[in-house]
């Protein structure tokens, strides 16, 4: 075979491998880390899973502010448990991502340098206690809608991590809604606080479900690989349809004058989303982008001596063990 022939042969072989690969996914078979996979599959999964992991980790920061300010012990233990879950979810996802051949260190480096993205919602500030309610109710609510379909995604380690995440996350949304409900049953001032939090978090929560289908570049391929089962616009509609009645029940108003139930479609029609704001935040110009990343980086850098000491201790222990055995 000539060099060119060989090249064509290799390309053909890759193409048929890819067809077999896509067929395997279409049959609902899982892909495991050591199986052959197209390079694009590996890269896309590293990008998405790491983005997801980073979002869990950065997502702890806006809430951390309120742990010591929680209004009661009941609220405090719940918020602590929620934040601890988020750390856990980040860790499940990082280890799923590492099975694709990228190291934890590289993943952190990508987050700290700004090369990797995380959910833009965490770049908004948490101004009052009611924000803890709004985040649990809306942000975790939107996250669950995003995540449930991922429990049956094609990459085994990601799907298994998501099953665990989804199981644990349902309490997050309930605790948030309960905070909102309690405020709504309180004084006028408390109710105003809940309404103010809803006003500030509603639109960012809608944006969280991603750009419109027209704008979304990855949808088609992600559908084939089952990284996505529904489009962003479908997920957003589902979120709105389920959330509006929940707001009604506790007497809060969704801050959208165009919001109206459409009898024909059976869905809520809603107003225009400010995508310019979304892209600004994604590009790093949100209110808290710098603060979040520097908090994360500081935590990592300031913990370095602890990590080094733990490893030095472990090595010393292992050495003395070896020495004992030699005697």
């Amino acid at each position: 075979m000539s060099h060119t022939e060989k090249k064509i042969f290799n390309a053909d072989q890759t193409r048929s491998l890819e067809q077999m690969f896509d067929a395997k996914i279409a049959r609902d078979e899982k892909i495991e880390p050591k199986d052959w996979m197209p390079e694009k599959y590996r890269k896309t999964h590293i990008r998405q899973i790491s983005q997801h992991a980073h979002s869990e980790i950065v997502g702890m920061l806006p809430e951390a502010n309120w742990i010591s300010r929680a209004p009661s012990l009941r609220r405090k233990v719940a918020l602590l448990a929620k934040v601890q879950d988020e750390a856990g979810h980040g860790l499940y996802l990082y280890s799923a991502c590492e099975t694709l051949g990228i190291s934890r260190e590289e993943l952190y480096e990508q987050l700290h340098s700004g090369k990797a993205k995380y959910s833009s919602i965490f770049n908004y500030p948490t101004l009052t206690w009611a924000d803890m309610g709004a985040i649990g109710w809306l942000v975790d609510g939107a996250a669950i809608i995003n995540q449930v379909p991922l429990c049956s995604t094609s990459f085994g380690p990601y799907a298994r991590a998501m099953v665990r995440v989804c199981k644990e996350e349902s309490f997050h949304q309930r605790q948030g809604y309960e905070i909102m409900m309690t405020l709504c049953n309180g004084t006028q001032e408390q109710k105003d606080m809940a309404q103010d939090a809803l006003n500030r978090w509603w639109w960012p929560a809608l944006m969280m479900l991603g750009p419109t289908d027209e704008q979304s570049t990855h949808t088609e391929q992600s559908m084939i690989w089952k990284l996505k089962r529904k489009t962003n616009d479908e997920l957003r509609q589902q979120f709105i349809d389920q959330t509006v009645p929940q707001a009604d029940i506790i007497g809060l108003n969704i801050p959208d004058s165009d919001l109206k139930y459409n009898n024909e479609t059976g869905h809520y029609d809603f107003g225009e989303i400010d995508w310019e704001e979304f892209w600004q935040v994604v590009k790093g110009h949100g209110m808290c982008n710098k603060e979040r990343i520097s908090a994360r980086k500081n935590a990592w850098d300031n913990g370095e001596w602890v990590r080094d000491a733990a490893l030095a201790y472990a090595e010393k222990q292992a050495e003395s063990q070896d020495a004992k055995q030699a005697v």
Binding site: D35, S95, E98, S103, R104, D308, A310, L311, A314
Partner: protein, 94 residues
């Protein structure tokens, strides 16, 4: 940082009577810390009664590319299954 913490695989027995099952992995400086971290990461809701950790580098895994020679020899041995054998119709359970 001088070196990164090694990777450990975590196995959890959900309750007595069941086997340890692979739950995931984590980084830790040594086995004791790996156990403690595994407790916090994988069993926050009573998911287990026993945990094993083993450093990932100590696991030798089969290669999926060799699955043919590894596992196919078993596929043509139907006589290893009870349905291979003929029984008179009168016998309902055996």
């Amino acid at each position: 940082m001088k070196k990164n913490w090694p990777l450990w695989e975590v196995f959890v027995r959900s309750k007595n009577g069941l086997e340890h099952r692979h739950f995931g992995s984590l980084h830790a400086p040594d086995a004791d810390m790996a156990l403690k971290n595994a407790r916090d990461v994988y069993t926050r809701r009573n998911e287990g009664v026993s945990i094993w950790v083993v450093e990932s580098k100590n696991i030798k895994a089969s290669n999926p590319d060799d699955n043919g020679e590894m596992f196919e020899p078993a596929t043509d041995k139907a006589y290893r299954h009870p349905t291979f054998y003929d029984l008179p119709d009168d016998i309902e359970h055996m």
